[in-house]
């Protein structure tokens, strides 16, 4: 834990003593975390480290122990609608909504801003169009989700989360099924959002993409092992350690890249 205490205005999310269970398994083991505002934080770690659970707890979508503060206020104290306006969450696809059109899916992101059963306003349409164009899903707005490929579908779901235009955006595996050009697009979208003051938190398995973030949070076994700048060698060492030395971080053309460690290749057993 390298994070020092920041003034409330600079912290978008603050978690203290978080614990959560899935069934009988304790997934989060009393962790503390601060997410700085207007920065991009990447959460990484091996499978089963509790990354997705942490994101769900931070979004207020799961029962947990401990406290989460959103913009300085306890999550439970936020009325549901206001919280939804402040914080958008993109989960791993729960695999449904096949009958909805792309347009309708993206428009769902505007629900927190609309009166109950109220007609969408021009700014809602504008936000939806902007989001769909950002993820290049605008051309299929009349098609249904069921008619799209996995990657196309992911871009629509991403547009749904973007159309909320919330100051805090949490994304769980946003790059699933995306081809390299659209992964690069996603990077550009996140960079633009952060430049405009949005706080972005992402859970990523693509370590090289995660290393583009401002802050890296390394998790293992329901705890946070390390939190630090992505360019910090200490972060790289923590990352390599949590993946049991099976990956190595290299600098390639000004970018950090995670590659399989040569000692971990099958011809040279590591254990």
């Amino acid at each position: 834990m390298t994070a020092t205490l920041q003034p409330a205005a600079l912290v978008a999310l603050r978690a203290q003593g978080l614990g959560a269970r899935l069934g009988s398994t304790q997934v989060l083991q009393g962790l503390d975390l601060q997410i700085e505002a207007a920065r991009w934080t990447s959460i990484v770690g091996p499978n089963g480290a509790g990354k997705s659970t942490l994101l769900k707890v931070l979004a207020g979508l799961m029962a947990h122990t401990g406290v989460v503060h959103l913009q300085g206020q306890p999550l439970a104290a936020w009325p549901a609608r206001q919280r939804a306006q402040q914080l958008a969450w993109l989960g791993q696809s729960e695999g449904a909504g096949d009958d909805l059109t792309v347009w309708d899916v993206a428009l769902l992101g505007r629900l927190p801003h609309q009166a109950w059963l109220g007609k969408p306003r021009p700014e809602d349409y504008a936000a939806v169009e902007h989001a769909l164009r950002q993820t290049q899903a605008w051309d299929w707005r009349e098609r249904t989700l069921g008619q799209l490929s996995g990657g196309e579908r992911q871009r629509v779901l991403l547009a749904r989360a973007l159309s909320v235009q919330a100051p805090v955006l949490l994304m769980d595996e946003p790059l699933v099924n995306l081809d390299p050009p659209h992964q690069a697009d996603w990077l550009h979208i996140v960079r633009t959002l952060v430049a405009r003051g949005t706080t972005v938190v992402s859970v990523l398995h693509e370590i090289s993409m995660a290393l583009h973030a401002d802050t890296l949070v390394v998790m293992a076994q329901g705890r946070i092992c390390h939190q630090g700048a992505c360019a910090d060698p200490a972060s790289h060492r923590a990352l390599e350690a949590v993946f049991e030395g099976r990956i190595a971080i290299h600098a390639v053309q000004g970018q950090w890249v995670a590659l399989p460690a040569t000692s971990a290749l099958p011809s040279q057993p590591s254990d």
């Binding site: 549901a80 449904a96 009958d99 909805l100 927190p112 059963l117 249904t144």
Partner: protein, 338 residues
């Protein structure tokens, strides 16, 4: 801006409303003696009486029952995020059967029971049975949060209450024929009172379902996503289950267990138009009404002066048409999910 999405549902709604009116007119003219012209009916006082007292209420009742089942089907499929969900899923069918069974056993055995008492008793018993079964399912599933629990509890309640009905029938085998009529469904005994009740129930359920439709839309992307959008998922799911129980119970109480309308209507709508749940529920309802009214017409006229049980026809017609649609279109269009 959104015209491309809106036009087809509107056209479908207009088409279904027109079809319903046409079928209603036809329903007034078709009797046990075959088709009568309007002029013939107007000039004959007895025929007019028959139209007003028998044919019109049963036609309107068939439409209302179909509309309730179509509505319940669309709500069930949205609520459980499953295209195979139907209105009877939470045990309401088995509950209604048991209610009728018990009512028949109690009333039928008593020599003082008049036919109208029997009719009123079975209607009430079916409604009470259907509602009680859904409440029992909710209690067993300990709420509405877990879809799988809810579905399993519904299956268990269905099986257990079905076994109880069988037990009653085993003890009193003379009820078998009356029960068979209820299980197959019939619109023959619907009067104006039942019509008013069903249409009133339909208005209430439609208003509630319309109001709750944003939550159905949100739920179609998954429960966590719906919650992240600030939707009060748990109270609204309870409300939706109650709408489901009310709509199904009202229809079942008056017309028996009519098969397939609730399952087929939403799929038929989806084959024609894509719409959010607000419109899907309304369109499914109109579709269910038209479907059951059409089936009722055929049930009356196919082997006149005899009648077929309308439930048999809805199963054959609705099922056949759905199969044809599945055969004709790609699997996605009829709502199948991976």
């Amino acid at each position: 801006m959104k015209q491309w999405v809106r036009q087809r549902p509107l056209a479908l709604a207009a088409g279904l409303a027109l079809l319903s009116l046409l079928l209603l007119g036809l329903g007034a003219c078709v009797g046990s003696t075959g088709l009568q012209s309007v002029r013939e009916v107007w000039s004959d006082a007895v025929a007019l009486q028959i139209v007003w007292d028998i044919r019109l209420p049963r036609s309107a009742g068939a439409w209302a029952a179909g509309a309730l089942l179509g509505l319940a089907g669309a709500v069930a499929q949205g609520l459980f995020r499953n295209p195979l969900a139907d209105p009877y899923l939470l045990g309401s069918a088995a509950g209604a059967s048991l209610g009728v069974c018990v009512a028949l056993a109690l009333l039928g055995a008593s020599p003082v029971a008049a036919p109208w008492m029997l009719q009123l008793g079975t209607t009430g018993a079916a409604f009470v049975g259907a509602t009680a079964a859904v409440l029992l399912t909710l209690a067993l599933a300990r709420g509405v949060q877990q879809t799988l629990r809810l579905l399993l509890a519904g299956v268990v309640v269905g099986v257990v209450l079905g076994a109880a009905s069988s037990l009653v029938l085993l003890v009193q085998p003379q009820l078998m024929q009356a029960m068979q009529g209820f299980m197959l469904g019939s619109t023959a005994l619907v009067g104006w009172g039942a019509c008013v009740l069903m249409l009133g129930g339909w208005c209430l359920c439609m208003a509630l379902a319309w109001g709750l439709s944003p939550v159905l839309d949100g739920l179609s992307l998954g429960e966590s996503t719906a919650a992240s959008l600030g939707l009060p998922v748990v109270p609204m799911r309870i409300a939706l289950v109650l709408v489901l129980a009310l709509a199904t119970g009202t229809a079942v109480a008056h017309t028996g267990l009519i098969a397939f309308v609730g399952l087929a209507a939403p799929h038929l709508v989806r084959a024609f138009a894509r719409a959010g749940h607000a419109r899907l529920v309304l369109l499914s309802s109109l579709m269910g009404g038209a479907l059951l009214l059409g089936a009722d017409l055929l049930a009356r006229s196919l082997i006149a002066p005899q009648e077929l049980p309308v439930g048999v026809l809805t199963a054959v017609l609705g099922g056949g048409y759905l199969l044809w649609l599945m055969h004709r279109q790609n699997p996605v269009a009829v709502g199948s999910k991976p």
